[in-house]
């Protein structure tokens, strides 16, 4: 649903030192994403899932955890039920 805002791409490379930094870099380059990823509190929307490699970032105390080169951050809808 969001790929239309990034010219249809499903994968984007960013430079960042942390997961939070990567997300900020993403919305800086694609400002239309900001309202869809973050709510009025400035945090990730409740039903947006974000994984740093295989770790769900909701399990982390903060998304300002460091990232290494070639790390993957995946953004998904939290979808369940019918």
């Amino acid at each position: 649903m969001l790929t239309r805002l990034v010219n249809g791409r499903t994968s984007i490379v960013v430079d960042a030192d942390s997961v939070g930094g990567a997300l900020r870099s993403l919305v800086k380059d694609h400002p239309g994403l900001e309202v869809h990823l973050f709510d009025e509190s400035g945090g990730l929307r409740q039903h947006v899932l974000c994984f740093h490699n295989e770790i769900n970032t909701r399990w982390l105390e903060s998304i300002e955890v460091p990232v290494a080169e070639n790390d993957t951050i995946t953004i998904l809808q939290a979808v369940s039920g019918g």
């Binding site: 649903m1 969001l2 239309g32 309202v35 869809h36 009025e40 509190s41 400035g42 039903h47 809808q77």
Partner: protein, 351 residues
Amino acid sequence: MAVLVLVGTDKAAFALRSENARSDWAIEGPLFKGWKVTATARDPSGRYLAATASDVYGAAIHVSDDARDWRQLEHGPAWSKDGGRKLNQVWTLVPTKDRLYAGVDEAGLFVSDDAGETWSSVESLNEHATRSGWYPGAGGLCAHAVLIDPKNPKRIWCAISAVGVFRSEDGGDSWQLKNDGIPPVVEDKEHKDLGRCVHGLVADPDDADTIYRREHNGMFRTRNGGETWERIESGLASWFGFPIAMDRRTRALYVVPLESDEYRIPPDGRFRVYRSRDGGDSWQALEKGLPQEHAYMGVLRAALAVDHLDPCGVYLGSTAGTVYISADAGDSWSQIRATFPRILSVSVFVD
């Protein structure tokens, strides 16, 4: 003559286009696949606007020159960070020559003076002295209708469920509740003039003081700018329903009654539109071409539209995903050959 109907649904929008007097329709879409499309409009420059929403990704506004290729506006109406309110959905977009208004859930009115690129909150309404007594209805706490007097743009009406109708006489600098005579649905302990669940609002284009109000508790009319309201239900199959639309050329009114707020299905399983040609004094059932047996769908408040041609076209989208179109002011109807997702909004544009 080209007619375009934008059908906003739970899962996308669809464009219906007719080039030949509304007899044949080509379907385009899905547009915004996966998104709710909650409101559409066209501004005086001819640019189309569409509001999308998602339980996951929030709401946004998009623009297009042709209703085919769309660009999301970078900024939309937004509540302040950490203000405690969430912008869940844009319910209505109302462009004027100089301004663009958006009514939203969580209830509020926003305005843009640069064609939607930036927005400001209409604080005089959004922080109204009565705000602590605003409660949501089943459809949410939503500013779903905004009327601008075409002859006096400083007179603005805003309908909020389940709060009531506000009127401004000064371009939105101040607002007064106009609920006297309307029975409450959710009575506030302190603010006795709130709790009116208005479903729809249309204005007589030639008489700024005449407003028709589709209310949770019935069908009403004011002829004195909202100072008093009177019931206009004679002939209606039921007092309950959501949408109301008016043909600006003939002043004919259209509504779609449902059995009650408890059941919300057409009375007796007969899907009928009702028309009034006398300002609501009487209503006639329109049935030809509409299902009259085992028809249990409804029409949501933003899913009924009129094109103001001669004779006018009337367009409705149902909660069952069916679209019915009349090219003869409602005397007869035909169904578009498609089944869409639950339909949230219908708008029609003529070129």
